[in-house]
Structures are given as structure tokens and as C-alpha cells.
């Protein structure tokens, strides 16, 4: 029977990432190396301390992960490549946490990197309009979901725009965010930006980024010994699912996947952790297109079905709200390079739980949730907690 994982005796030893963006001049390997070194420095370790590595990316060729790891050293450690589309980073994190929790490793590293701007420069994706399994622009298939929501619940483009404005403004305060506006972004500004796929305007869509991020997990006693006095953050539980068949499933073409995938995955994770959505202080979700974030308020259990618009209107998912979402700007502002995106969520979760998220700190945050979908076909939900 499928269940969420509850982790034991594993904590976050170190986190590191490079600011996401269109980093044309930075070689991919240097981005990966720098993210890895930042995490090792944060952990007080070198690669010699790491027992196992998990590397992830979407848009690069086979075995590129080994090349990246070699930038940090050649110690003979086992390395496994992980690819789960947009959810790659969180799944690498889950595997590293599991490797330590299972007792097979004392220290495990998740390192992810990608260069989406190379794909964009080649003019890929979207040119496949005239193919059966058309790789249409991702904004299109998420817009299909937005249109359906508007039809069923009367959601307005302004409500989607309010989520976008919130995330852009959160991004302004996050040093690792691609989009750091120099002014307060308004609903009007979001609505006035270029229409991509109705009702989604360009400011409601994530950028295609370059980036790298790394998280090191270790036995909790080792983490305490290496970084005494620092607040310990540990992964609490994780779940990972793929689609379940239901009438209306679309098999041909890129799709969002069934909405129940997120609610089922969240339920498994909450159950494994022995907590509920009411216990979560800060959340991260796949807001590649902001209508998704609205849906995930409900599907992750933060409000009843049909109440997500109310949550937006009341500002409950922004600064000072009941459940702040995507405090680093989310995919929309902080950016979405693919592989490393999930590790950026963990990076921000750990900063929040350590109390080190300057300018965007959720006061007293003890429990963080990180959710991603990948290719519309898999979903992962992960919980991290601050240990007193």
C-alpha cells in the first residue's frame, strides 16, 4: 500500500544556491559548483564528508550530474541522477533525506541545476503546434485550468493578478529571486502586462531561468556537532505520487494532470507526519502560473473548496496572513530553472525555519510545506520542521 514517508534522525546540514536568472555568461558547471560549495560551507563540510549524492536536471544530457559533482571533488561517492520534470529538485531532496533516514548514509547531498535559457534560445517548445502530441506552450495548458475555474467559480483575472503581485513583491525582498521589482507591483500592472494565454498575462507566468541549488542532509547528531548553536531544521515527511485514472483524463498532449493528485499527495504527507494543514506556518507550491497557486490553497487543505478566492481577497497568503505562500517570490518571481526549483523551495523553507529570512520572515515559523508537480504527471509534498 502506498504511504508517505516519515523521516527519522535526519536534519538539514547545509543549503546553498545561486540567484536564479538569465545567466547567459555563467557556465552551467560553475553554477552547479557554486551552489554545491555554498551548501558545503553552510554545513561546515567538504565532499569528503558526503556519503551519497543525488543530482537532478531536466534539460541537459545524460551523466551531466557526474560532471557537476566532479567540480566539488572526486571521492568515489555513489551518485544517482534524478529527473521528474519541475519536481526534480524536491524528489532529489526526498531521496537524499531518505538515504540518511534509512541509515545507509550519514550524509547525503541533493544538487540540481539547469539552463532553460538555452532551450528558449533554440526556440523549442511551442513550435509543436502542428504535432499530435503538441508541445504547446506550458502557459496554454495551465490556462485551460484557469478558464475552467473562472467558469465554475466566477474567479476574476484580478484575483489571479493579486497572487502574481504578491509573489513579485515577495521576490523583491529575496536576494536569490530573479525578479526583484524596484517598486510595489500592483494588480493593475499585472493585468496590463502582455497576454500570453487567456487569462494569463506575462506577469502571471514564471520565467524560464538558469540556476543551481544544493541541500545537504545528515544525521541529526552530526548536524548539531558541525553547527552548534544553530537552530536545527529537519525534514519531517514526504510523499510522491503519479496520476490516478479518472474519467476525463487526457492522454495526448501536455496536461496539468488531475487536481486530486495534489490533494491525495498532501493527505499522504500529512498522515505520515501526524500533522494537518492547520499546523503549517509557511508554504511553497508550483506557482509556475498563478492560477495554480489559487487551486493549491484548496488542494493542500488550507481552505475549503470554493474559498480560495476569499483567501486571496483577504490577503491571507501574503505578509502577515494566516498562511503565507511562496515567500521567496515562488516560481513566478524567484524563478523556475527546472531541476533546482524544488531545492530553492527547501532553501527558503530552511531560512524561514531558522528565522533568517530577512525582510520576508514569517514570525515564529515552525513548520514549512513544499509542493511541486512535474510534467502534470507526478506530485510531491514535503514537510520540514524547526527543532527546538
Amino acid at each position: 500500500m502506498r504511504r508517505g514517508l516519515r523521516f527519522e534522525n535526519v536534519a538539514v546540514a547545509g543549503i546553498g544556491m545561486v540567484p536564479f536568472g538569465m545567466l547567459h555568461d555563467d557556465p552551467m558547471m560553475h553554477l552547479a559548483r557554486d551552489a554545491g560549495l555554498f551548501a558545503l560551507h553552510d554545513a561546515g563540510m567538504t565532499l569528503a564528508d558526503v556519503d551519497e549524492g543525488f543530482v537532478g536536471y531536466i534539460g541537459l544530457t545524460s551523466m551531466t550530474g557526474i560532471k557537476a559533482m566532479k567540480e566539488l571533488g572526486l571521492t568515489g561517492l555513489p551518485v544517482t541522477h534524478i529527473e521528474n520534470a519541475s519536481a526534480t529538485g524536491l524528489v532529489a531532496f526526498r531521496e537524499a533525506a531518505w538515504a540518511v533516514s534509512s541509515g545507509r548514509a550519514d550524509v547525503a547531498m541533493a544538487l540540481c541545476f539547469d539552463k532553460f535559457t538555452d532551450n528558449a534560445r533554440r526556440g523549442g517548445r511551442g513550435g509543436g503546434r502542428d504535432e499530435i502530441d503538441a508541445p504547446i506552450l506550458p502557459a496554454s495548458y495551465f490556462a485551460l485550468w484557469a478558464q475552467r475555474r473562472m467558469h465554475e467559480r466566477g474567479t476574476t483575472p484580478a484575483q489571479f493578478a493579486a497572487i502574481a503581485a504578491k509573489n513579485w513583491n515577495y521576490g523583491a525582498a529575496c536576494p536569490w529571486s530573479h525578479r526583484r521589482p524596484d517598486h510595489e507591483v500592483t494588480v493593475e500592472e499585472v493585468l496590463a502586462s502582455r497576454m500570453v494565454a487567456e487569462p494569463l498575462t506575462s506577469m502571471m507566468c514564471c520565467p524560464a531561468d538558469d540556476g543551481a541549488a544544493c541541500v545537504i542532509l545528515a544525521r541529526e547528531d552530526l548536524v548539531r556537532a558541525r553547527q552548534p548553536g544553530r537552530r536545527v531544521v529537519r525534514p519531517l515527511a514526504s510523499s510522491l505520487t503519479s496520476e490516478t485514472y479518472a474519467r476525463g483524463h487526457t492522454f495526448v498532449g501536455p496536461v496539468v494532470g488531475p487536481a486530486t493528485m495534489t490533494s491525495d499527495t498532501a493527505a499522504e504527507c500529512y498522515e505520515a507526519a501526524g500533522v494537518g494543514p492547520e499546523d503549517v506556518d509557511v508554504a511553497y507550491c508550483h506557482d509556475a502560473f498563478v492560477n495554480e497557486e489559487l487551486m493549491y490553497y484548496e488542494l493542500l487543505g488550507f481552505c475549503a473548496e470554493g474559498d480560495a478566492e476569499k483567501l486571496v481577497e483577504e490577503g491571507q497568503t501574503g505578509p502577515g496572513g494566516r498562511i503565507p505562500f511562496n515567500t521567496d517570490g515562488g516560481l513566478v518571481a524567484r524563478g523556475h530553472p527546472g531541476g533546482p526549483t524544488g531545492l530553492a523551495q527547501v532553501h527558503e523553507s530552511v531560512l524561514q525555519l531558522r528565522g533568517e529570512a530577512d525582510g520576508r520572515q514569517v514570525e515564529g515559523a515552525r513548520l514549512a510545506l513544499a509542493h511541486l508537480v512535474g510534467g502534470g504527471s507526478i506530485c510531491t509534498v514535503n514537510l520540514l520542521e524547526a527543532v527546538s
Binding site: A120, G123, G124, G126, G127, E131, Q147, A197, G248, F251
Partner: protein
């Protein structure tokens, strides 16, 4: 001039050019669920061995969008936008497809019918065609 599908196994092209194409689906003999495209193993009950069926030529629009920026990262691409939709066929499958319609012609729940669009001519001089959905009664895009 013959018409050939852009990819085999998804739809049948009728000999009569006035007839709409037929999507090729599968029906599970055990539980009765119908799928597009064809598959061997039933996605609902896991029975092995589905029967070949042809699907209806009309369906209802479940949701749609109109994409104004067709190319990923190519901001100045000189290409037109296009409609995308999901169409519920009476047998059950929900089919995602490019729509031959402008944004103001589209409404959730409306009836659409399948049509063929000619994409290009291949080296043998055959017309390469793909299926699209369009509002019932709208002019066919086929005679390109």
C-alpha cells in the same frame, strides 16, 4: 492527391473529402471504459486487451484558452496565435486539441466538431493532415 495523417494510429481519414475524420479509440470489454488514443491495457480496471472503436465526431468544449505567444522564449516570433481546448466526447474521452476558432468564438459547453487541416505537402506529393476541432457549422479549415 492523397491525404496522409501526420502520425499513424490516431485518426482515420475517410475517402470522401466531405466526411469528417474519425479518432481511433479503445473500449475495455471488461469495464466498458473508452479511451483515446488506442491502448492495450485498460487504464481503469487493468484488463489486458481493449477493443478498437471509432469515436464520435462531435463533442462539448470542457475548457479552452487562446495562446497569443506560440513560441517559448521567442518574444518577437512572427507567428499567429491559436486556440487550445479540451473536448469531451460522448463515449467518455477528453481530447486536447488545437481549435480552429478565434477567442471570441469560444465558450465552455459549446458543441464542436472534428475536422482535418492540411499542414503541408510531403515529398510524395501527398497532403499531410492533422485533426482540429471547430465550432459546429464553422467553415472547414481542410481545403487549404
Amino acid at each position: 492527391m492523397a491525404r496522409v495523417p501526420i502520425e499513424e494510429g490516431y485518426f482515420r481519414i475517410p475517402d470522401d473529402t466531405g466526411e469528417p475524420p474519425r479518432l481511433l479509440g479503445s473500449k475495455c470489454p471488461a469495464c466498458g471504459e473508452v479511451f483515446f488514443p488506442r491502448r492495450l491495457v485498460c487504464a481503469q480496471c487493468l484488463h489486458e486487451g481493449c477493443d478498437d472503436v471509432e469515436l464520435s465526431t462531435r463533442g462539448r468544449l470542457w475548457t479552452w484558452t487562446y495562446c497569443h505567444v506560440p513560441l517559448f522564449g521567442a518574444k518577437d516570433a512572427d507567428v499567429p496565435g491559436y486556440g487550445v481546448g479540451q473536448v469531451d466526447l460522448p463515449e467518455g474521452p477528453r481530447v486536447q486539441s488545437i481549435l480552429s476558432a478565434t477567442a471570441d468564438e469560444l465558450e465552455i459547453g459549446m458543441e464542436l466538431e472534428i475536422d482535418l487541416e492540411t499542414l503541408r505537402e510531403n515529398r510524395d506529393g501527398d497532403e499531410v493532415v492533422i485533426y482540429r476541432f471547430r465550432p459546429v457549422g464553422a467553415p472547414s479549415a481542410g481545403a487549404a
